[in-house]
């Protein structure tokens, strides 16, 4: 029976598990459904999870023959290549993904017997790797760098394919504007510490030095205020997005403590070095 394909952003693609019961009567039926779906959609390879059956099964059609791989594991790998590939999960998108040129796998047949296979055919090797990604709760996009992933997600969004759940972590958070602005202030605070050297060589007046010191006097409390705003907004965002690594309070405290410590060090430095009435 031809089944409906799971396509992005359907996250059922991420929940797969090993086939445990080879005596289950539905197993041969599932394998046949996979083949029927491949025929109907002109696919050369399919993972069971791509038709919403959460089992570690891959079928590949090679030279007119269907190869069944149940519970496959990649044991050996050799030679990294950049492979251009398409997958039914991301419709009409071509990805360039790092893959191994040759692999050795172990897998089971539909009776549960274990086999091994050394694969030197580049197409079979990369296709199997792509499908095995699905078997372990991932997609080919997990194998590419973050910038490239965002480009692909944008392209998918251009086709109207966007995740609907609000609990996903944003790729860019508004709170990053606050840290970015704070870092710029810190950069200039740091720069201001070399004022005495410039003043000596370029004969700056006390008025000029006082103006730079005034900047330092404003910058330090500004960093503190910005970090308080950051913390409050980060708390709001943590509630908004349920799963978000950058929303962990430990990370937020780390970001705040680091910047406040640097600001404090620069402020003390400015008080000692830049301040026209300073001790040094």
């Amino acid at each position: 029976m031809v089944k409906e394909l799971v396509i992005y952003p359907d996250d059922r693609i991420l929940s797969c598990t090993d086939v445990r019961d080879f005596k289950d009567e539905s197993l041969p039926r599932l394998l046949q459904d996979m083949k029927d779906t491949m025929e109907a959609n002109s696919l050369e390879a399919l993972a069971a999870i791509q038709i919403a059956h959460p089992f570690n099964i891959v079928i590949i059609k090679k030279d007119g023959e269907y190869l069944e791989f149940i519970n496959p594991r990649i044991l050996k790998k050799e030679g990294i290549i950049e492979n251009k590939e398409k997958t039914a999960y991301y419709p009409d998108i071509e990805l360039t993904v790092p893959r191994y040129e040759k692999i050795s796998i172990i897998y089971e047949d539909r009776e549960g017997n274990q086999h091994s296979m050394k694969i030197e055919d580049r197409w079979l090797s990369t296709t199997l790797q792509r499908k095995i990604d699905y078997l372990f709760g991932g997609t080919p996009l997990d194998k590419v760098n973050k910038d490239y992933r965002e480009q692909v997600l944008e392209a998918l969004a251009g086709k109207g394919l966007v995740p609907q759940s609000l609990d996903v972590c944003p790729t860019f958070s508004r709170k990053d504007y606050i840290t970015s602005f704070t870092d710029k202030i810190l950069f200039f605070m740091g720069l201001s510490l070399i004022t005495p050297i410039f003043a000596k060589f370029f004969h700056w007046t006390t008025t000029t030095i006082s103006k730079i010191y005034t900047f330092d006097k404003i910058a330090f409390p500004s960093v503190i205020v910005l970090m308080i705003i950051y913390f409050i907004y980060a708390q709001y965002e943590a509630k908004k997005y349920k799963q978000c690594s950058s929303c962990q309070i430990g990370n937020q405290i780390g970001i705040i403590v680091k910047r406040v410590a640097v600001a404090l060090a620069f402020a003390v430095g400015a008080w000692l070095w830049v301040n026209p009435q300073g001790l040094l």
């Binding site: 996250d11 991420l14 929940s15 797969c16 598990t17 090993d18 445990r20 019961d21 080879f22 005596k23 959460p54 519970n71 594991r73 990649i74 044991l75 050996k76 050795s104 796998i105 172990i106 274990q114 091994s116 990604d133 372990f136 709760g137 991932g138 997990d142 609990d167 996903v168 972590c169 997005y241 799963q243 978000c244 690594s245 962990q248 309070i249 430990g250 990370n251 405290i253 780390g254 680091k258």
Partner: protein
């Protein structure tokens, strides 16, 4: 007055003994028998192994702590259990052989009303030729981080490797498991990333070829069949998570491997596809397989009943379903709930000392029949929880009699949190914080992946490192029985 004897002073034994004493007070007696003079916070040994902590930071002497708690401490190893007593005396007892307290080598019989077996494992280095020295200790070719002393030695050897790398000599480092039936992949995982982190800091990373070698059939199995975690807004498996980390840190891997022999600078292995290989190394840390500590058991007539109360691997049989079943018939309900021995109701086990009914990971063999699969881990959190539950049961049995309801702590209904360090630094440190629920997948309750995704998640970052560091101090504080220790969870 009842006497509770606890064999072992690790996470499970220490937890069981201290809670039993806390709840029983002076009305009853608690005796701890452990061959060690120190308590060791084992999760931090990996930091000793890279020189980021000293041995003194991860151990403390047990004697003053037990003296403060009113626990009778015997620095001795348990030798045998006599659950029916002996001719003319029905009182059950154990025999011990002192390893300290000025009585080294002396033996003694200690009677008990309730016995908790929390001996932990024997580090079975000799299971792999060359990994051990033939006398049960670690051999000369590799290092280990299983004990604090091993970790100190490992760091000494690692420093030599770094020094050679500084002098321009390429060095090969292999970290992983030293046998097809090992557990504790997590400790090796932490150690390899801490070495990589330290190598970066020392400026010698370019001179090191660091390789992972393990019995897992996929990266990120960790002995629990892997896990699906929610990360950064999407679910991912531990395989994807682990592979990303290994690639990011430039560490290559060999998996599905049983180390069959270790020689000076070279190891031999067999993989799940039946192929054999060799790997050269200048420094190798290979976790040994675990076995029971070799306790014997005798009935009243002095007949050996070891095989009656212990499983073939030397761990104590408890209320698990040990019926041999095929993988597809394994159930969460096979796992023990009360850890009570079925034959002798006053004997319990806690932590690594209990015999698991079967593996958690998928059982696998090479074509030659060599089993190559991780064995079930029993990390600090489950061990502590089980130790506390067993202590609770024993206290209730003492106070309420044999009809008392036993407390339950099944690993198939228990979650576990794990914080795996990948580099120690207050500002740049990194650790993966993972939670998994339940530890043993329940495919009936959670069809598909066997676990509840809402309680199984993971994050990696600086915050994880801080959590790991805070836990280090928190659990040592708790184990020292400092004020408020009972409030700190296991």
């Amino acid at each position: 007055m009842a006497r509770v004897v606890v064999m072992g002073g690790g996470v499970a034994g220490h937890t069981a003994a201290t809670f039993a004493k806390e709840w029983l007070g002076d009305a009853h007696e608690v005796v701890v028998v452990t061959p060690n003079s120190n308590w060791n916070w084992i999760p931090s040994n990996i930091w000793v192994g890279v020189g980021q902590m000293k041995k003194e930071d991860v151990v403390f002497p047990l004697a003053p702590v037990y003296q403060k708690a009113g626990i009778d401490y015997r620095q001795a190893k348990a030798v045998s259990i006599h659950p029916e007593g002996k001719e003319g005396n029905d009182k059950p007892y154990i025999t011990i052989e002192y390893t300290g307290q000025g009585k080294e080598g002396q033996t003694e019989e200690i009677t008990y009303d309730y016995l908790i077996n929390a001996t932990g494992p024997k580090l079975n280095f000799d299971a792999t030729p060359g990994l051990g020295d033939g006398n049960g200790n670690i051999g000369p070719h590799t290092v280990s981080v299983c004990t604090a002393d091993h970790a100190v030695h490992a760091n000494g050897e690692l420093r030599k490797i770094f020094e050679k790398a500084r002098q321009g000599q390429k060095q090969k480092i292999v970290i992983g498991t030293g046998h097809g039936m090992c557990t504790c992949q997590g400790a090796a995982f932490e150690y390899i990333f801490n070495i990589e982190f330290e190598a970066q800091k020392a400026g010698v990373r370019d001179m090191l070829d660091i390789r992972w070698l393990s019995n897992e059939s996929f990266l990120g199995d960790f002995g629990i069949g892997g896990l699906h975690i929610k990360r950064g807004g999407y679910a991912a498996s531990s395989k994807i998570f682990a592979e990303s980390l290994y690639v990011e840190r430039g560490i290559d891997w060999t998996i599905g491997a049983h180390v069959s022999k270790v020689e000076e600078g070279k190891l031999h292995y067999e993989q799940l596809d039946g192929t054999e290989g060799e790997m050269e190394f200048d420094f190798a840390m290979l976790i040994p397989p675990f076995a029971g500590v070799g306790l014997k058991a005798y009935d009243k007539k002095g007949e050996d009943i070891t095989s009656k109360i212990f499983a073939p691997n030397g761990f104590l049989k408890v209320d698990a379903d040990y019926t041999a079943k095929p993988y597809e018939e394994w159930k969460a309900s096979d796992w023990p709930r009360t850890y009570q021995n079925p034959d002798y109701k006053n004997i319990f086990a806690a932590g690594i000392a209990f015999a698991p009914p079967h593996l958690i990971s998928k059982p696998m063999k090479s074509p030659k029949g060599t089993p190559i699969n991780p064995t079930p881990p029993r990390t600090g959190m489950p061990s502590g929880i089980i130790g506390k539950a067993v202590a609770h049961s024993v206290c209730d049995l003492i106070r309420e009699g044999s009809g008392a309801k036993l407390h339950e702590a099944s690993m198939a209904e228990m979650g576990a949190a794990c914080v795996a360090s990948a580099g120690k630094s207050l500002t740049n440190g990194i650790a993966a914080a993972l939670t998994v629920y339940p530890v043993v997948p329940d495919f009936e309750k959670y069809p598909g992946i066997g676990r509840d995704l809402d309680y199984t998640f993971g994050e990696i970052g600086l915050a994880g490192h801080w959590i790991k560091h805070i836990l280090h101090h928190l659990f040592i504080y708790k184990a020292k029985l400092n004020p408020g220790w009972t409030l700190i969870p296991e």
